[in-house]
């Protein structure tokens, strides 16, 4: 919030766009699917809409700028789905969560992460295998490994930390 305000306390539109475009894009890709050819257009429309509303002073600070943009984004998603459903009478609703493999945009980075996963100790690899690859619940993994569900979450989080370190090297 602070970063999007200029010294004279007016909103810095460039900063807003820089900060929120990735967030809006993430939300749109999750909702419409990254393979949906419209997703970038929808993001651009939302950003334009935000800029327009801020310029017209429709954002009065009743909520945070984040919530303001979240609301605009959510409404646009609903509109998009409604319009698509009208055009194609029996069009299936877009998968709100596209298959994860569709989201790997940076192939090199994906390869790097995969290499780092291979370097993890077996107990961390195992937790990633059961929890993410086998799609087991926290409780199922806990039962299988004979640990508490909280321990499972801790181990997953620690695996991520280790990966971050390995990636930075």
């Amino acid at each position: 919030m602070e970063k999007v305000k200029k010294e004279n306390d007016t909103l810095d539109l460039d900063a807003i766009v820089a900060k929120y475009r990735p967030i809006v894009s993430f939300r749109i890709k999750k909702s419409l699917g990254v393979t949906n050819p419209d997703w970038e257009d929808v993001v651009n429309e939302i950003i334009m809409n935000v800029i327009e509303k801020v310029k017209k002073r429709e954002f009065r600070g009743e909520s945070s700028i984040g919530t303001f943009i979240y609301t605009i984004t959510s409404r646009r998603i609903v509109d998009y789905i409604r319009k698509k459903s009208k055009v194609l009478k029996h069009a299936p609703e877009p998968d709100p969560f596209p298959a994860p493999h569709e989201e790997i945009e940076n192939k090199e980075r994906a390869e790097m992460i995969a290499d780092c996963i291979k370097k993890l100790k077996p107990k961390f690899r195992e937790i990633l295998y059961l929890y993410y690859y086998r799609d087991m619940t926290r409780e199922e993994v806990a039962k299988k490994l004979g640990v508490s569900p909280r321990r499972v979450s801790e181990r997953v989080n620690y695996s991520q930390k280790l990966l971050k370190k390995l990636i930075k090297k």
Partner: protein, 226 residues
């Protein structure tokens, strides 16, 4: 420790951080999903964590088969060895014993148990099929030399009221008693004539009035008068 969705969580930078996995793995109910979505529009830390975790899950899902070959092989070996150990334990002799045991078990289930069950006779009361017990009539049955003075049947326990019916072509007489026999009144005896065939029946009622047993309708013939 903080509470998120009723679950105890380890203190983190942001309490919503614990929802990241459930959100990405589609395990959040809609209302919580919306709350979390609004949250990551407002929390840079959670959004950063969210994108990193999303990337990790994407790689695991996409490259998991080659990444986790060791784990997959270990699981397959484990399941095969379990099957093998069970199969090794079951010898042909064990199979034979199991088959004989199963046959005996079926024999008991299908043969012995039904025969242990006392069968309830079916009879009709006012055209309604009733399941209950039967009353055995003792006398008179078949042919009798004289007009009967008494009717007797097997007792059906205490606190039972019996209703007796005497018929020729239609109902001739009916009476109730708590005994398992009843004296035929003189005026009814006088109505009964030799060579005629009569029939009688007894019904047993519980103290509360419910019908509990019925006899079959037994015929008898009076061969001569007294």
């Amino acid at each position: 420790m903080v509470e998120v969705n009723g679950k105890a969580k380890t203190m983190r930078k942001c309490k919503y951080e614990d929802l990241i996995d459930d959100y990405l793995l589609k395990r959040l109910p809609e209302s919580e999903r919306e709350i979390f979505e609004e949250h990551y529009f407002n929390c840079s830390h959670c959004f950063q964590e969210l994108t990193e975790r999303n990337e990790l899950i994407a790689v695991v899902k996409d490259k998991g088969y080659s990444l986790f070959q060791k784990e997959i092989m270990a699981e397959e070996t484990k399941s095969v060895s379990w099957f093998e150990s069970v199969r090794a334990y079951i010898t042909p002799r064990t199979w034979a014993v199991a088959a004989v045991s199963a046959a005996l078990f079926l024999l008991v289930i299908l043969g012995v148990i039904p025969s242990l069950r006392t069968s309830s006779p079916q009879f009709f009361i006012n055209e309604d099929l009733v399941r209950g017990e039967s009353i055995t009539l003792i006398s008179p049955v078949i042919d009798i030399p004289t007009v009967p003075t008494q009717f007797r049947w097997k007792s059906h326990g205490e606190d039972v009221e019996y209703k007796i019916y005497l018929y020729n072509e239609q109902l001739l007489w009916t009476e109730t008693t708590t005994e398992n026999s009843i004296i035929l009144p003189e005026e009814i005896r006088n109505l009964m004539i030799p060579s005629e065939t009569y029939s009688w029946q007894v019904k047993a009622y519980a103290k509360e009035g419910g019908l509990i047993a019925v006899s079959s309708r037994v015929r008898f013939r009076i061969i001569s008068t007294q």
